[in-house]
Amino acid sequence: MKWSQFFNTSIGKKLLVGATGLFLCSFVIVHLAGNFQLLYNDEGKAFNVYAAFMGHNSLIQFIAWGLKIVIVLHAFIALQLTFRNRAARPVKYAVNPGNQTSSWFSRQMAIMGSILLIFIIIHLTNFWAKFHYGEMPLHTYPGQEEPLKDLYLVSQETFKQGWLVVLYVIGMIGLSFHLIHGFKSACQTFGLNHKKYNGLLSFIGVWLFGIAIPVGFAIIPVVIYFK
């Protein structure tokens, strides 16, 4: 079977969704670690230095563009599979089993993923687009010659708007619900299902990606709003 045929099968497409999904899981860990610098009490110096490094390092920029392609690929193939799955049942059941046979999270992947995609577009508009292509305030810290783009100040101003804080929290609820099923599901697609490590995979999926990381992300705008 040629690669083009392999990745055109339902399992091949799921492997692409799973691989891109796991890559995005690794990205959220790095992104959260960077974002926590917004909570430092240093007038944003650490965060702005970090943002300048991330914005100018060629390797990071290469990965950042790759990341955007990965997000588009993940969403595109997942939606393609979703539409195909819907078409596989032209006549629906009059009575559905609800939560009796499957978890609610596992049935909402497309909806939560769509909420997340809308959130990502809003998020990129709020910060990434502004940082690279918009007007940015500048800040020169003591001991530095060049002024830095003050992304810290932009984030402080952005999260003084209550509706945006609510929107970000909703986005993170979407992330949580998506990853509670998504991480373990991606592992299963790669054939990782064994009693030796299923407990560990469930723990990582639910507690790390489903709870700790989304809560970590959501805390930042809430703290800034009430500061």
Partner: protein, 249 residues
Amino acid sequence: MNLTLKVWRQKNKNDQGRFETLQAKNISSEMSFLEMFDVVNEGLINEGKEPIAFDHDCREGICGMCSMHINGRAHGPWDGTTTCQLHMRAFKDGDTITVEPWRAGAFPVIKDLTVDRSAFDRIIEAGGYISVNTGNAQDANCIPVDKTKADLAFAAAACIGCGACVAACKNSSAMLFVSAKVSQLALLPQGHPEKQSRALNMVAQMDKEGFGSCTNTGACEAECPKEISLTNIARLNREFIGAGLSSEK
């Protein structure tokens, strides 16, 4: 007990179909669900009406014919049973029971509750077998089989091809069925020579038949009358990846 049935009636595969409300009277709680249908059908025949068409064969949970979606569950509310093993004591007097056929584009309705599951046969034809050369059979003890793997293969081989996995899956995916058939042979030495082409061809045929893809909800495992495990789907994925990477064709 007396029950109200809302049963799907459809003259043929081109008919739109509709629900018909029927009364099932004087039903014993010890009857199986299919015996209850026999009683209702007798009544319909006596009234000169068309009886409800439904598939059944062994009535002991091994033929996989009795495809009925009962109150939103494949084969009804009990776990690990087919419809013929479901007894009326699962219901209360006065209950309303909704009975639908399997719903999947790959399983077209033939009549009422009877669906055409020949898509499964075509998947088996694509690779769910081992080729045996002519000549005398080898001494069985010449082929060592690990007991653990033999047990896993046996558990996978318990699949009766009833289609409950497809019926229960929100995507109408046939992955549990295909994975059981692939696993059963991949785990045993006899199945090894064709394991790569089997995985690739059966998955290709599954897609061709119009089944959806697996989103790992686990509904198939929950509804399977033979309790086939999701670990088989993981095994199918591993077999498929391995075959994709190293198959000569």
